[in-house]
């Protein structure tokens, strides 16, 4: 089921291309330097991801979802602990007034931030692997992490999970980006990476 360390390392490098583009776009939007870092990438079960988030005290998350379909189809879900999503919007808006709640307008701002990140990341991956995807518009969802991850499927389903750390000025925010995959898509991801490694060799 799992990808080999070499395959994961390759994926991490490929993802970093898109993450770099996302950081540039978000910096432009924020008017200040936004640094993004991907300390970890792994194929795990949804349960692993939700346990990790809950252990960090984030049982409620704010998620931006987008569908990408092509040779392999996936739903990308970018999740933040609710409190951190508020801080993120506040930083991007450049507002001094602390937000108490994620209102309609803030949710839309978060959708835009997530959209920029997801589009850049998937574009980067698509470019390097020479894949083609169709994307959907972003959709924001608030709720317990298990509900967000299990809108469809089971907690035992695999996901490609990336931790994405944001650093904006003095603010540190930990986001989780997961790509929901079915078994077929995991296989096709592995084939893609192996093919890419073969071309390199």
């Amino acid at each position: 089921m799992n990808l080999s360390p070499l395959e994961l390392e390759t994926l991490a490098e490929v993802f970093n291309v898109g993450v770099g583009q996302a950081a540039r776009a978000l910096s432009q939007l924020a008017g200040t330097t936004v640094q993004l870092n991907v300390p970890r990438i792994d194929v795990v079960s949804k349960l692993n991801v939700s346990t990790e988030l809950i252990n960090q005290g984030a049982d409620r998350v704010c998620a931006v979802r987008q569908l990408f379909s092509g040779v392999l189809s996936t739903e990308a879900v970018l999740m933040f602990p609710v409190q951190q999503s508020l801080q993120l919007v506040q930083m991007m808006v450049g507002d001094d007034v602390p937000l108490e709640q994620l209102g309609e307008m803030e949710q839309e701002a978060l959708a835009e931030i997530g959209n920029i990140l997801l589009n850049a990341v998937v574009s980067g991956v698509a470019d390097v692997f020479k894949l083609q995807f169709e994307g959907s518009l972003p959709y924001v969802e608030l709720g317990p992490v298990k509900d967000v991850l299990c809108a469809q499927g089971e907690l035992t389903d695999p996901v490609l999970s990336l931790q994405i750390d944001f650093a904006i000025d003095s603010l540190q925010i930990h986001g989780f980006l997961v790509f929901l995959l079915d078994l077929e898509s995991v296989e096709s991801l592995r084939t893609t990476v192996q093919h890419f490694l073969g071309v390199l060799a």
Binding site: L29, E104, M105, E106, I113, S123, F133, E134, P138
Partner: protein
């Protein structure tokens, strides 16, 4: 408008629907030339279809040059993934107005914009890569949220006021103190905290009654407000007859000086107090504690330190200031 050359499966009512949608629609061809604009968009942009169709987007809307909108459009066309521009981050990217009869009094509409590129399949079918721009007027929800936020702010303010003295209450102190200490740490500035207590207040109440006691607290509170009057100072009623002043960017020495002024002012009020063992009138004792940035001190620690200084002032004979230790 030049119709695409492929056979048209349009229903007779499609054009009618597009022109009655209560949102703006713009379609661009692969060269960013406008090939379609619906009635809503033309009306709200105050343009005729002749002024729009077949024209480059940037010629019709020159104000979007180098804007976030233009960047998002370019990225969308390049990546093929739809994108969103939120009202919160970009209030009004396009010059679209509320149609009003009063000239020169046009109101820019708050906009939520979606940029949707045609998929490869659809592009192949249409023999051209079109991009759809959808503009929603979100002025009303924006105003509604702003109103709700203002109301929430007012209610929050009310919930943090002590009804008797009109100083902040304990809730306000609990919210302000940690924030003030964080700011002090960030700005590398000291912060002083002063705790006040009316001397022999229980005896005052016993001698003159609770109404007189209330009035005494109001008068003391007023003296605190007079002395600690910078916008960043916060004065709150901490308990029964205890009051606290949070003084950002204030050294211990300055805090003691200001506190001494409060003591003089209260003494000068000359409120008779026959139950007091230290004077013939109402007096207060005070304890000062200082937070120096770089030291590890919690808000609770700081309150405790001020409380200890206050205890010292009381055991030292009252009507005096003690601390910082």
């Amino acid at each position: 408008m030049n119709a695409p050359s492929q056979p048209c499966h349009c229903h007779p009512w499609s054009a009618w629907v597009l022109d009655h949608l209560q949102l703006g629609l713009l379609v661009l061809d692969a060269h960013d030339t406008i090939v379609f604009a619906n009635h809503w968009l033309l009306t709200h942009a105050n343009l005729t279809s002749d002024a729009v169709l077949g024209k480059p987007l940037l010629e019709v809307f020159p104000q979007i040059q180098d804007s976030a909108f233009e960047r998002a459009l370019a990225l969308t066309v390049a990546s093929g993934y739809p994108s969103l521009l939120s009202q919160t981050l970009h209030p009004a990217p396009l010059p679209i107005f509320l149609p009003t009869s009063q000239r020169g009094n046009d109101k820019l509409l708050r906009q939520s914009i979606r940029i949707i590129p045609a998929s490869r399949q659809d592009s192949a079918l249409m023999q051209q890569s079109y991009t759809l721009i959808q503009i929603n007027d979100v002025t009303q929800p924006f105003m509604r949220e702003r109103l709700l936020k203002a109301q929430a702010g007012r209610l929050k303010g009310l919930a943090e006021v002590d009804v008797l003295t009109e100083l902040g209450n304990r809730r306000r102190l609990d919210e302000v103190l940690p924030q003030a200490m964080r700011s002090a740490r960030k700005a590398a500035q000291p912060l002083s905290l002063v705790m006040f207590d009316v001397d022999y207040f229980k005896q005052f109440n016993d001698s003159y009654g609770h109404l007189a006691g209330d009035d005494c607290l109001r008068q003391v509170a007023q003296r605190l407000r007079e002395v600690f009057r910078r916008p960043q100072d916060v004065v709150a009623r901490y308990g029964g007859e205890e009051m606290v002043a949070v003084l950002p960017e204030t050294h211990g020495q300055a805090a003691r000086k200001l506190t001494q002024q409060v003591l003089h002012k209260v003494y000068a009020l000359g409120i008779p107090h026959r139950g007091s063992a230290v004077a013939d009138r109402v007096t207060v004792s005070a304890g000062v504690a200082v937070y120096e940035p770089g030291t590890e001190l919690s808000p609770e620690d700081l309150l405790k330190a001020a409380d200890q200084a206050l205890y010292q002032a009381k055991s030292g004979g009252r009507n005096q200031v003690c601390g910082p230790m």
